[in-house]
Structure formats: C-alpha cells, structure tokens
Symmetry: C2
Subunit: 119 residues, 2 copies
C-alpha cells in the first residue's frame, strides 16, 4: 500500500499554464491504469488532441470547459467526463481560480502510453 | 463523450453507512477501468477485505483512516492510496463530516469484477 498527498508529487508542465502529477502509476506499482492530477491556470488549457486511449476525469475545483468535436461543455466541481478513444478534447480554464481535475488513463503493456508523433 | 455530475448518479449502499456511485463504467462505455465515488458516514466504514484487483483512491473531503495489515494510516483531502492486489483494506470515517473519496478499479473481461463468495 502506498499513501501520499498529491501535493507531495513532483509536477511537470504539460502545456503553458498546465501542470500534471502522476499520483498513482507504474513507479508506484500500479498494474493497469494511472491516476494523474492536472492544474490549469486561468485562460490556459491542455492541448486539443486525440489518442487511442480513454480518459476518466473528475473535476476537483475551479471551472472550465471541455472542448470537443460537438461543442464545449461547462465543467465545475464534481463533474465527471468520460472521453472515448480517438475523441478530440481539450480542457480549458474559463474561471478565475485554478481548474483542477483528476484524469485516469490506462497503461499500455504496463507502460504509460505515448502520444503518436505529430505530422 | 459523456459528462455528468457525480451527484446525479444513483447511489447504492455498499455497507451500513457507506454508499457508492459508479460515475464512469461499462454502461457509460468505459473500456478498461471504473471510477466510483464513495461516501462514508461518521463512524462507518467499508468492509475489511481483499481481492485480486487494485484500488487507486483519491480523498475528496472529510477525514478517516485506511486500515491495512500493518496498521492504520490517516487520510484527508488530497491523499492518494494505491491498494495492491490481495491487500487487506478498509476505509473508516473517523471525522465528523462525510468521508468522500474516489476509488478506481479495473474491469475484468470488460465487466465489473465480483467479490469471491465468502466461505
């Protein structure tokens, strides 16, 4: 069993104004999926992209939208988003505080999946 | 893409004083893992048990402990617990408010895993 506060975990920049922490992953012994915590600053966002794995997202605090092919959907505390495989998406902070959410992804062959090269 | 607030999801009693909501699961199209939200009332707990799948837990609010073979570990907002396969565990509310946490589990053959019969 491993217990830690997410704030103790080193964060890395995923995009300008958006950081990510891996709070439960292969290095902790997680065998199947990876829990990450994102913090997006006001007017910042995660990249608009797609990939062949899903997201399960839980909004912890702040407010924003998830942009997708159909439109944008408002998000606030307690909202859950299931992003399907190959579905375009971006999480955008439209509020004044930090937009904070959990995002769980699967492991692929026991490893973190990697984005296909651009181009 | 599916978006819903966890409070909109029907909850069921998992143990006396402990409810569970499946906020992203097979019925929503989740292919690999299941996100649940637990709410445990003061002085209540989830069962002390083990099973051959892992948990990734994120504490949303309240305070409690996770009981395990070694001892009990205090938990509060932002704490993350990785419970390994076959590790005994129980989540106990030791505070005065609701002890609320996310718990993610894997799907097994595309279905929710079921507890082995007691015996």
């Amino acid at each position: 069993m491993k217990v830690q506060n997410y704030r103790q975990v080193v964060c890395k920049e995923e995009a300008p104004g958006a950081t990510m922490r891996i709070v439960a992953g292969p290095e902790d012994g997680a065998p199947n999926f990876v829990m990450r915590v994102f913090e997006v600053q006001p007017q910042s966002s995660t990249p608009y992209h797609s990939h062949n794995w899903e997201h399960e997202v839980f909004v912890l605090s702040g407010s924003g939208v998830v942009r997708h092919a159909q439109a944008e959907t408002q998000l606030s505390e307690g909202d859950v988003v299931l992003v399907a495989l190959n579905e375009q998406h971006s999480f955008i902070n439209t509020g004044e505080g930090i937009f904070r959410f959990i995002c769980v992804i699967p492991l692929v062959d026991g490893k973190l999946p990697s984005m296909p090269p651009a181009g």
